[in-house]
Symmetry: D2
Subunit: 425 residues, 4 copies
């Protein structure tokens, strides 16, 4: 990756004075170091992200602007907060008179959209942040960039905010490219949304910590069940297709998990150092165990799975590792003549449809506000990322298509290992 | 049922002055009318339950008494609260010096018990009420009354408090009968525990309203999911084997449910007035729907189900109506060429392992305290029931084996019908 | 009290067939025994309340009816639930076309009302039950019945539902009397609202158990503070002007309170058996203590208090017992040279503005639905009470002006004494 | 500040191989850039913090080590989590055999300590993280470093972990200096604790986001109260002596606050651009308002305040700005003949005694684990700080005595201004 890869696309020279009453505008060459870790007294070479923030000169005339907000893919705590903060920053901050909410994701920009875009109002957004889900509706799957850009032109939109995961940001990039091809003044500024926290160049996405909090509740209940019967096991399946961040963070937060299985680590069931033997030794020693498994773990164990199959959002189809363990674990203990009492928890939709907690409310505000600043300044083909505590402009091409995963020597995974002691049994 | 059926077994004439410093003792002939509804100016015939309360004269000498507490069957919010209140009333109220906690239900009184009974202490019980589950452990299944009574004799127990559902109370009755056969001075006073709220002569059992509160949370999430996609359906399976009280009460409390399916009402899927056609009309009109199904509903729809099969607790084995609907509903809409987006929620263990909320904390206190009063007074072969707002003594023979169900013309079911409007589509 | 006192006023013979599709209508002579406790084999004399429920014949033509809902006095969890259930039962159940929400209590019926009554709609009520407070607004104080009835005539209202405490029900009675004087067909059916749970002939009012749950949270925090410092005391002031129900129930639910001070019991601070000496002995023995005081306790201790002063709602003005104890307790321990670390908690508004929990959601539904049934049947000058587990019609004259208090020999107070052991120090 | 100021004190060359089974140890010259913002293409000069992490070679022999944990000052969510993670990392990670819990802060190291240090055990720490407060107890005020070091020598402690705010870290520094004077092998590694989030070189302290979440609940209730009466005002006093982080973050998270008053901004009550006039214009326009005030705001408005007075912890004594506003606001509106309905909320202890939420559970784990790594490596006279997303070693001398405050042009304060619009009225 070079500094050129991190250069943000822009519509041109900002021409308007910002209407914002902020104390300090961000100079346009403000930047944030990408690498901040030094070893051996060496400062890392100064690769930087463009820093987010309100610019004093902006590219678009707010009074003549029209914005569109769009939410795509699976639910995630905080979607309504993002919508609300985008709306208020656009309307009360910049004075943008018209803000559309596109219904049901990119489908709402397609000719067969079930519902037309709606014009948002203050009374409509006023209390939506107390609710989970998205008041605009969502859908999965891609639409043709050509027809979406046609629709945006028809609506007169020059500011587009797609909220969604990797697939959505791919779509945002396609729209930006198509707009550039037509030489349209359309700023496309994405807001990354992934409950799995697996977007590259975004340390933490909104909704993640709310999901961890809900997962922790479930783990606590699994712990209660496990401790209430002889040889009790609580098995909890959590989200995490390619990355086990939720499973790992909930394990650390709860402090009650004994085995945490994630996609980043190979899962071996059998043999003396396999998971089943370790679980057996744990149960013999302590009489109960709590096991957390991320949905993407152990996919090679699932028979007849087509590793190339994908769903409407382009994500690979997963086999159900939860159900596999739900069968294999009791079978193992039946087979050795020392049965267990296992309870299985599969909370998935319950977790992702929760409202945002305070930590995520704060994070959504930062993403949404900075996304508006970027778009008003004429930036495009980027998303707002969260990097070393700063909000930065991440060009879509450097992130999309490359998921972030937990590294085996990360601080989080070290914490999981230490807290569970799962390799010591 | 006659007044004779409601007569409570007693060990004999109370001989000791109660050590309690209460302002007003309950006279032993205090009673509560069973029927309090009058029609046509007719007072109902005066059938009564014996009223619970502290007696001024008690049968057992507290200083020479030993108590045992035992929790059986599935988890239920409030078990630890009951244990704690039994302990404090016995020890601090009456001065009973030794209180055992039997481990893992009736299994803990059997020769093959994995753990011996433990002697409870104040520091052990002090904070247990903040936790779900049972700190004593539980198990399913019956044990021979003879061996259990042998064990109780060995322990020197004269006050036994079995906490559990219908199966547990059957076991309590068997112990009481066996003790009477041996002319043992053993008071057996049950505390009804059933998250399904289906125990006869108990309007409301502890844990029920906590379970409803947890179920309401899940329903709210299902509502969020259903509203977030075109033609969205949230399907929630809740507990309720023979009685749909949780499903019905959560439906009324939440106010977001459109169809509530319970064991008490036949479930017809097909045909113009069947559930699928009603759901179709609802979706066409409103674009989303929330469906709640109690696990015991629609059992006749499940192929290859053996209607006589029972589990270790003697409950009939149920087919999984949740999974059946999870398949049948989307299939129906696929078949008519108008597919839906359905999300399935099966929270079961999550709900029952919750800690007790305030309402249930209050109820557990009443049950536990009155159970101790009854036992100290020498009453036996009964459970403490909740009737018309009073705690009463219910002889085990009039309740066990006969589950309580929601009647079709009850106020609760009328509320469900009115709130869902499920028969109007 | 005689049976005549319990006779409910009625507009006349019901003339219309009910449009409700209920399975069983309530016969008009359905009644509920007032007293259900028997002693010495004596059945109590058959004094009865009229039983609530949908009547098959109703007095008012729904299609020509107009209803008004009004919320008065202090906030209480569940007000929005009551409004919502009244609305749905009137509109979807009976087909009443016009339902007004009066703004800011009785003030909204006065000539100087800041806001005119609003016509309620389904989209307005749809989600209000998730919020605390009252979406209609409230106010304190009485208005002249003549001008209120003038306003109701102007609005064409024949069904009036005042939701409020004793003062509000007095106002409801005055409206009913004025309507009768003018021979108006106006049904006045109150719904009792009092977070203090002090309304006569209503075992439990809505909002009470939600308030207890919130109070329990505060008590838990006070317990944490008290245990964190040497000689720590947590002092919590709770609502309860004339009756200590919240303080007592929260004490029992929490299990962490050591002294519970209520208006029903005299409070003596000084002397060897006074509260301060008991607290001292408790602290010497256990090093921490949690004290709960209801706001109406110990009023005679407050200097310069005018015992005849009343507020806008006609409630007597209270001195602040919380502040008095906040000073007197540390002063006492300073004086004896053994100071303590005290933390004071005064959560009041925090508690009453909470949304209803599940238990209260269920209760509000019962009150609201039955109130509509009563009004449609032509009953008037009553409120819907909760008695021995049944909803009943309570004529306003037998309840208003006489508050319910906790009796010293009640089961609740006995539980408080046993759990705190406050008289043993 | 120079790089020399950031050099961490160390006992000497690490001599032992770490017993930890981590995948990657941190090299001892690992560092984190202090400044990561660049402007005008200039990389900031490479000032760095030493990076936290497990070292491969450690200074102390774990088998011969004794640790002591100590919690000081006011309560804060997460104290028990820190204790628990310190314990597990020391005992299960490194194999340190003896871990003391000092009782009631530094007082527990003084000759007049009410309780001797206790030896912690796994069963004691197992579930403490579910509770607020500190199980070790706390106290305010300094003790002489000489007597504390005497006590630590008597106990044989070589690893000391003081958890507390600026005053506590000053004490930690004094202990480290005294130990160095005596040439003692005592590692002193602080863990910053301040609910106000005002410690220098620590972007976010544990407990802060839990406090914000609790504050948000209170604000929501204040909003409910304010909207329920004509001209309703909800006034909420929150913690924040020198820094308004809690008030600001809760304002942003809640989205319902109209005025946020913090110590960092001068508070002017009177005059046309004063707070009271702005509030008046807001009320005239919108009929309700929510006001949040941090306890340290507007101190110059408080008459007779001694600006030099300090409390036992060395914090300056504050006047009660909450009570002042509680009087001044209604007085103003009385005076202009247009009274308001104001409700005052002062939740303080309620907020700080809450248990840690998931986000804080995760943060406590990072602080605690890295503190142990630092101490085992022989580092001393430092605390573990949180900087640009990394845990770093902050020498105590560069932080203590200099509180962190919110800067007027920070992103957080800009968000507060935008969301409240408080300067637009």
């Amino acid at each position: 990756m070079t500094q050129d890869d991190l250069r943000v696309a822009s519509h041109g020279t900002p021409a308007f004075k910002s209407p914002l009453a902020v104390r300090r505008f961000a100079p346009d060459d403000a930047a944030v170091l990408v690498n901040i870790d030094c070893v051996g007294g060496q400062t890392p070479p100064p690769l930087t992200f463009e820093k987010a923030g309100p610019r004093e000169q902006i590219y678009f005339d707010p009074a003549k602007s029209r914005a569109a907000i769009i939410t795509c893919g699976g639910l995630c705590p905080g979607l309504n907060n993002v919508i609300r903060h985008l709306y208020y920053t656009l309307r009360d901050g910049y004075g943008v008179p018209t803000i559309y909410g596109v219904r049901h994701g990119y489908l709402g920009l397609a000719p067969n959209a079930p519902l037309e875009p709606m014009e948002l109002t203050s009374s409509w957004v006023e209390s939506i942040h107390h609710q989970g889900g998205t008041m605009l509706g969502t859908s999965r799957g891609r639409q043709e960039p050509e027809v979406m850009v046609d629709k945006l032109i028809e609506m007169g939109v020059n500011l587009l905010f797609p909220i969604g995961g990797d697939g959505t940001q791919k779509g945002a990039h396609a729209i930006a490219v198509e707009a550039q091809r037509r030489q349209l003044d359309l700023a496309v500024v994405g807001i990354p949304k992934t409950i799995d926290n697996d977007i590259r160049f975004c340390f933490q996405t909104f909704g993640f910590i709310s999901a961890v909090a809900e997962a922790e509740r479930v783990i606590d209940r699994a712990h209660v069940e496990a401790k209430s019967v002889p040889r009790g096991v609580g098995l909890v399946k959590l989200m995490g297709r390619e990355a086990g961040f939720i499973a790992a963070a909930a394990t650390v937060a709860s402090g009650e998990v004994n085995f945490c299985l994630v996609p980043e680590e190979p899962l071996v069931l059998d043999g003396p150092s396999g998971f089943l033997a370790r679980l057996e030794r744990r149960l013999n020693a302590r009489d109960h165990a709590v096991v957390v498994v991320a949905e993407g773990a152990g996919q090679d164990l699932i028979a007849n799975r087509d590793p190339l199959a994908v769903d409407a959002s382009g994500n690979r189809r997963l086999g159900d590792i939860g159900l596999l363990l739900k069968e294999r674990i009791p079978d193992h203990f039946e087979a050795i003549g020392n049965p267990i009492g296992m309870k299985y928890f599969d909370p998935s939709y319950y977790i992702r449809s929760a409202p945002a907690n305070s930590a995520d409310s704060l994070l959504t505000e930062r993403f949404a506000r900075q996304a508006v600043h970027a778009a008003m300044a004429g930036k495009t083909d980027l998303f707002v990322g969260f990097w070393n505590g700063r909000i930065v402009h991440v060009p879509l091409p450097v992130s999309v298509g490359k998921l972030r995963r937990m590294t085996p020597d990360s601080e989080l995974w070290a914490a999981v290992q230490a807290i569970t002691g799962q390799n010591h049994w």
